[in-house]
């Protein structure tokens, strides 16, 4: 590509409305422009990167044996009513009526459509397993779209859906997808981790997220120092380590006015936060009589409640909802000063995190306004209904597989593979005739990659103060050639043209920067948009038979002979 015929739309200033680095750099490099909240146009530079991501994904999906299909963006609401998600999905599901007043949705995902297709089309177990994928525009009406294409309303996704006669077949394809995703992200040149993820209310036996590691990542992912164990923080189990000591103190109430945080209480009482418990009173599952009981959750003062784990407890309502003031009043419990003492006696289920359950002589609320209790001991002072894994793991925790300790990194979720089981096939009655001639409800898997998000995540992982540093596989151009003093030196123009054609013929994606701009402008543009290799052609070099070469991350350029140059590019 000749730069003079390309659309360079670089910006010198940081756009004021871009909060994260990838959003800033995508705007500054001229990859995207905002059309409306959460809607972005991809400019030629951005589209080149997007195409490279898409091509790698498609090649690997094809290689895995998945078959490419293409489903409509507009979907009849009736299918979503059938699956129950028309209501469940909430306002992120964009609904509309067509000119005949029929209800439709703009697809945020395609489980319903593909399940409907399979139930109509496939008749026999002999046609299974099948795995179908598409690369397609999705729409999710985010309440507050932000971070550019990282959390936009319209985005491109590769979604795949597999159908199986039994769980063993699903497992097999799931493993193939796991390997395929690993190959995809490896080919994309990204530092990523596959981590175990929670399967939530759908159940199913497995789910992995693929995270691009980046300090700005929204998610915490957890690794063992000595094994392959990796999970997202929602999923990672916190083991019970140690035993509870015998009580040594008596329970005493202490006045703690204005001490309304764990930190303040700890300081005030001169004890460390890990010697206290904090209470979270939440809604339980509604009973048949219409009453909703309150459930009390306790974790150590220095630990964080893991919402997903709490929601997975059979007595706790999902989504997790705090008890109302009226409910607290009913039990005569003062918010901010609640301890476990006497709760079971009041008919409240007390679920205690494993780590909190082995404390002794600890601090807790006194169930009286402006008072805490010290020297509290389980069983003696406070009954436990159940010990349960309720907290987020922290750095240094024992790995759940018993091998090594846990480390935590930040990640950006770019892929997710999921054993759906029969959630959708059951709701939509998707069956085929099994080997014994009877209808069998199919097992399903689904496998997603956020194609547009991958581009942003790659930038979050690879940038410096000059701009983007693309992995070569994603770079909009692999090599840039800059002729110096083009207006005065026909020799450099000629040499640049010749090298341009030669490298193109060798299969490189080359940009010839023939723009009528100062070298400084060109150099900073090329660094901003992140082209991996830069070759400057000047009179001196021509005399010496060398090219001035600089890799994107090099501090200095160096003079290379043609052979050396070709060797460097080949790496």
């Amino acid at each position: 590509m000749r730069a003079s015929r390309f659309l360079f739309a670089t910006l010198r200033e940081n756009p004021s409305d871009a909060e994260i680095i990838s959003h800033q750099l995508m705007l500054r490099a001229g990859m995207i422009r905002k059309l409306a909240s959460g809607l972005y146009t991809w400019l030629p530079l951005g589209k080149r990167v997007l195409n490279k991501v898409e091509t790698i994904i498609k090649e690997e999906m094809d290689r895995s044996g998945a078959l490419e299909v293409f489903m409509p963006v507009a979907q009849p609401a009736s299918l979503w009513q059938e699956s129950g998600r028309f209501v469940q999905y909430g306002p992120e599901l964009l609904r509309f009526k067509d000119r005949h007043q029929n209800d439709f949705v703009l697809g945020p995902t395609h489980e319903e459509v593909i399940t409907d297709f399979v139930r109509n089309e496939l008749k026999s177990y002999k046609q299974l397993p099948i795995n179908m994928y598409q690369v397609q525009t999705k729409f999710r009406d985010e309440i507050r779209p932000r971070f550019g294409v990282m959390r936009s309303r319209e985005f491109i996704m590769k979604d795949a859906y597999s159908f199986h006669i039994n769980q063993a077949s699903l497992q097999e394809t799931y493993q193939v997808m796991y390997d395929t995703y690993s190959r995809i992200f490896t080919r994309l040149g990204l530092d990523f981790r596959a981590v175990q993820a929670d399967t939530g209310s759908i159940g199913g036996s497995g789910s992995h997220e693929f995270h691009v590691l980046a300090s700005s990542g929204e998610d915490a992912v957890v690794f063992s120092s000595e094994s392959d164990y990796a999970a997202n923080v929602e999923k990672a189990e916190a083991l019970l380590v140690g035993e509870r000591a015998e009580p040594t103190q008596d329970l005493k109430h202490v006045e703690t006015p204005t001490q309304d945080t764990i930190a303040k209480v700890s300081e005030f009482l001169d004890c460390s936060a890990d010697q206290s418990v904090k209470a979270l009173l939440v809604q339980g599952i509604a009973q048949e009589d219409g009453n909703t009981p309150v459930v009390a959750l306790f974790v150590r003062g220095d630990h964080e409640l893991n919402t997903i784990k709490a929601e997975n407890h059979p007595l706790v309502a999902a989504p997790l909802t705090f008890a109302t003031e009226a409910q607290l009043k009913q039990y005569d419990l003062p918010a901010g000063f609640i301890g476990p003492q006497g709760l079971v006696e009041k008919g409240i289920t007390v679920i205690v995190d494993r780590s909190a359950s082995i404390l002794s002589d600890f601090v807790a609320g006194a169930n009286k306004t402006d008072q805490h209790a010290v020297g509290v001991n389980w069983e003696r002072d406070a009954k436990i209904s159940e010990v349960y894994d309720l907290r987020n793991v922290i750095e240094g925790d024992l790995s759940p597989d018993g091998k090594g300790t846990l480390h935590i990194k930040r990640g950006i979720e770019v892929g997710h593979i999921f054993q759906l089981g029969n959630k959708y096939s059951e709701a939509l009655k998707c069956t085929v005739l099994g080997e014994e001639g009877r209808p069998v409800t199919l097992e399903m898997g689904c496998y997603g990659i956020g194609v547009t998000r991958v581009v942003a995540a790659a930038i979050e992982q690879n940038f410096d103060d000059k701009g983007i540093i693309w992995p070569t596989a994603l770079a909009p151009f692999e090599v840039a050639i800059v002729p110096m003093n083009a207006h005065k030196s026909p020799r450099t123009v000629e040499a640049a043209e010749a090298l341009y054609l030669e490298l193109q013929a060798l299969g490189y994606d080359v940009l010839l920067d023939d723009r009528n701009e100062r070298p400084g402008v060109k150099f900073s543009d090329l660094e901003l948009v992140g082209i991996p290799h830069r070759i400057v052609i000047g009179e001196k070099g021509l005399d010496a038979g060398t090219f001035e070469y600089k890799q994107r991350t090099d501090h200095e350029s160096r003079n290379l002979s043609k052979d050396e140059l070709l060797t460097v590019l080949q790496k």
Copy 2:
């Protein structure tokens, strides 16, 4: 691809709801399935064809220097209000509100979005010309979607938009696009014609449609027998040939009760239809005083009014609308028996088609119920306000360039290139600084190809009673290999596998039909889905060192040596 791992979804029966051959064959071959009215899922077989179309289009667009972008499907309504099309476009424009009650449309086209982008992004004439394209899902809420993907609501389009500092630059890019489209349809292997098209209310100086010729085509396209002249029937000019003879008859009124068609009147009066005129009374342009005058259009009895030509007349309202009964009553004109006599005197503008204007002694309505006039002569009996080209050309008319006569064929419009001029750039105030430092409103061109429609059109042009006959460039697979008696003959399986790998290595898109089906089922499937080359491998051939080869359109197969086979495939 191994057929056993592919999704064959062929149907033996013709689907009852498919009216045209491409729709029937796409369903029967298992290329598409209907999700809802006008919404289709592309199955693996169909998606392969779609991908081939898309690849050729993209390659040629890139080669032309156009830059690929990607714009959102959801577009803010405000831009459509700015261009005036939010109202104009009518109910085919699907409107919806997002969760914040903001108005959006599902894009049927992207003139507004790209013009908004250019006005924000480009500053100087130095950045021009620029031509940007995308391949993308569009939505048009057709009142009665039909013919499968030929007229669906959701479809894929390649749309391109070019911006220019002046008309000369637009002309240049327009010519590049004309050549690019010609190359695209040539590479797709289709018999197509580029024809002049009407530019309608937008004006602008040029527009061409690209039609795939097929007897089932919805459109009529017109060619000269002796020159390059080609146009769609809306655009093709009907020349004035001959002169009006002097009157020889007196005007007489004849009772013609129940003679309510031209054919009946002609038969009843024993004159040929080309010796009569028919009247069409339509709405004129509304006046400043709020009144809408009636305009009378006359064409020869055997000719058809050309709606577009009529609408292009400055006194006629668009869209063309018949006069109401009340209006006719006001002028005392009986529907079905209207002639030109005395109309001008009543204040009605009388526009007469060229061919009708040279009649003498002709038949017309008598302006009295159940009566016609014979021996009518222009000027003597009926004043003419204006002679105008109002009719569709017919087979045998003189070519407008004066060279040869016109022939008419049926075509399916698959592409359209259009000089938009400044319709959108003016409405959206899209300017850049010109060479003289002053803002210049840009000239625009737009260039569309119906990607999904191309697939259907290719089938309408290429099929027989056995199924689809793909041009090789579009075929889902180029070559099919069928091992005979696979379950009994390991030799044939082995030979088939070897040939499969060999042809794949040579770059062919090969299907190895390893399904557990009878040869008859395989052969008819392969013919139905239209694979160009079929190679059958059997024991006898292996003994003789030959392959049983049949091209899709051959009646018989023939035995070829390996060398002969490779030569045949290479063609």
